[in-house]
Amino acid sequence: MRVLPCADSGLLVELDDLDQVRALHAALEADPPEGVTDFVPAARTLLLRLDPAAADMAGIEQAVRSVRPGEVSTRESELLRIPVVYDGADLEEVAILTGLTEREVVEEHTGTEWTVAFGGFAPGFGYLTGGSPRLEVPRRAESRTRVPVGAVGLAGTFSGVYPRESPGGWQLIGRTELRMWDVDRDPPALLRPGVRVRFEEAE
């Protein structure tokens, strides 16, 4: 573990992998040190945002280092079913890249349970992990300037759903009608860290 200061505004905790990030995040969120205003989990880091007027950085760093994170269990967490029409513009390309048929890509994508690891790209976007390793693909060589809302994509070992129309470089395999983001709903984001996801092929 490395703890890197971001001036007086944050502490960036660097860890070995996503499991450690989730375990530390869960442990700290259950009992947040005074002066921590927000947690930003990512693939290998957990950022603690601080209120500079209230945070004792040395004390918080000590608290972080003394955490003994337990196993993170997601079995109890909410399961979200996302109906998908698999007609994405990059489905054929993903089949070529993975050596699967298009049908097999759909079967792999719907065949395992995914979990939201973290957010960050846009409000309501969740990086989904835990899918089939056979679906690992690079991002597109060129980003699209316009990806439609509801587009379902792959990049690296992640899957994700675009919560609104935006630019994007993920390989698009399908689309869903489910509204992933709605500020007038509680909760506004369906994909929150820890939520389990099953993709289902829509009729």
Binding site: P5, A7, S9, G10, F39, P52, G120, P123, A189
Partner: protein, 291 residues
């Protein structure tokens, strides 16, 4: 809630801002809020409001609005000529705007962002707990335009205790910002940090609420691999492939995939938010403040 202000002109960009939306990073929502928080707080203190009451953030002047009832306002931040029905009024002071009168902000001589706060606070409907417009995420009230009717909340019980607040003059050409190296200074070649600290950087025209693209000496990297996206803070100097830093302001992305060589201390971010295109920024190392 009754209409208090009717917007007549907005200048280049006017938005409603408070102190933003902390605590929602997990669902990809940034903090946002006033770019120069000290100026927002000052305006609210003058008026007897809560420090985080919503106000109008005016970029480079040009804002005009008609009072629909008797209002007390305060203009802080970038100092600009203020008039009420054509008569001059002071900045950093209480200003009475009678019903029907027009409050007008000219172009500031220095600085970039002025704040128009109203006793009672701008009372537009909050989104996820804040009235701030986040221009990157597209969250919160839409940017103001001619004809926007802004509700004003009930006056607080507290009375204003002073009618004028002295503030330091904003610099005209060059501003010095204190930074702490890291969190990713070790991703840069020898000499990169020295380059950042020795030569001034120019504020380019690509400057908005998200951040300020800077032009100046190249900051070369030692490590060329991709950095897995990680959480960002306000004040971060992130270095994209252009090798010139971007200084993140209030609407910065929640996470970023380029290394941060140093971070401007929280107390100096407000100064950065007042830097105009063409101005020079100098970075000086400060000690990490710690108790």
């Amino acid at each position: 809630m009754s209409v208090g202000l009717e917007v007549l002109e907005t200048g280049p960009l006017s938005t409603v801002q408070d102190l933003g939306r902390p605590g929602l990073a997990g669902i990809g929502v940034g903090i946002s809020g006033a770019a120069d928080r000290g100026s927002l707080r000052l305006a609210n203190r003058l008026l007897g409001n809560e420090e985080g009451a919503a106000a109008v953030e005016v970029t480079l002047g040009g804002f005009a609005a008609r009072a629909r009832r008797d209002l007390t306002v305060a203009v802080t931040g970038a100092p600009c000529p203020v008039t009420v029905d054509g008569r001059g009024a002071a900045t950093n002071a209480l200003v009475r705007v009678p019903a029907g009168a027009v409050l007008r902000l000219g172009t500031p001589e220095r600085g970039l962002r002025s704040y128009v706060a109203v006793r009672g606070g701008i009372a537009v409907e909050p989104v996820l707990g804040s009235r701030s417009t986040d221009v990157l995420a597209g969250l919160g009230p839409v940017r103001l335009s001619a004809g926007t009717a802004l509700p004003v909340g009930p006056a607080p019980e507290r009375c204003p205790v002073t009618d004028f607040a002295p503030v330091a003059e904003l610099p005209a050409d060059e501003v010095v910002l204190t930074v702490v190296p890291g969190p990713r200074a070790d991703w840069f070649a020898d000499g990169a940090l020295d380059a950042l600290l020795s030569e001034p950087y120019t504020v380019t025209a690509e400057a908005n609420r998200v951040g300020i693209r800077l032009d100046g000496p190249e900051l070369k990297r030692r490590r060329d691999e991709e950095l897995p996206s990680e959480g960002m803070v306000v004040g971060a100097l992130q270095v994209p492939p252009s090798s010139r830093p971007t200084l993140f302001l209030a609407d910065h992305p929640v996470t970023g995939g380029y290394p941060v060589i140093a971070v401007v201390v929280s107390g100096d971010v407000d100064k950065a938010a007042q830097a105009r295109p063409g101005m020079r920024l100098r970075f000086a190392v400060g000690r990490r403040r710690n108790r």
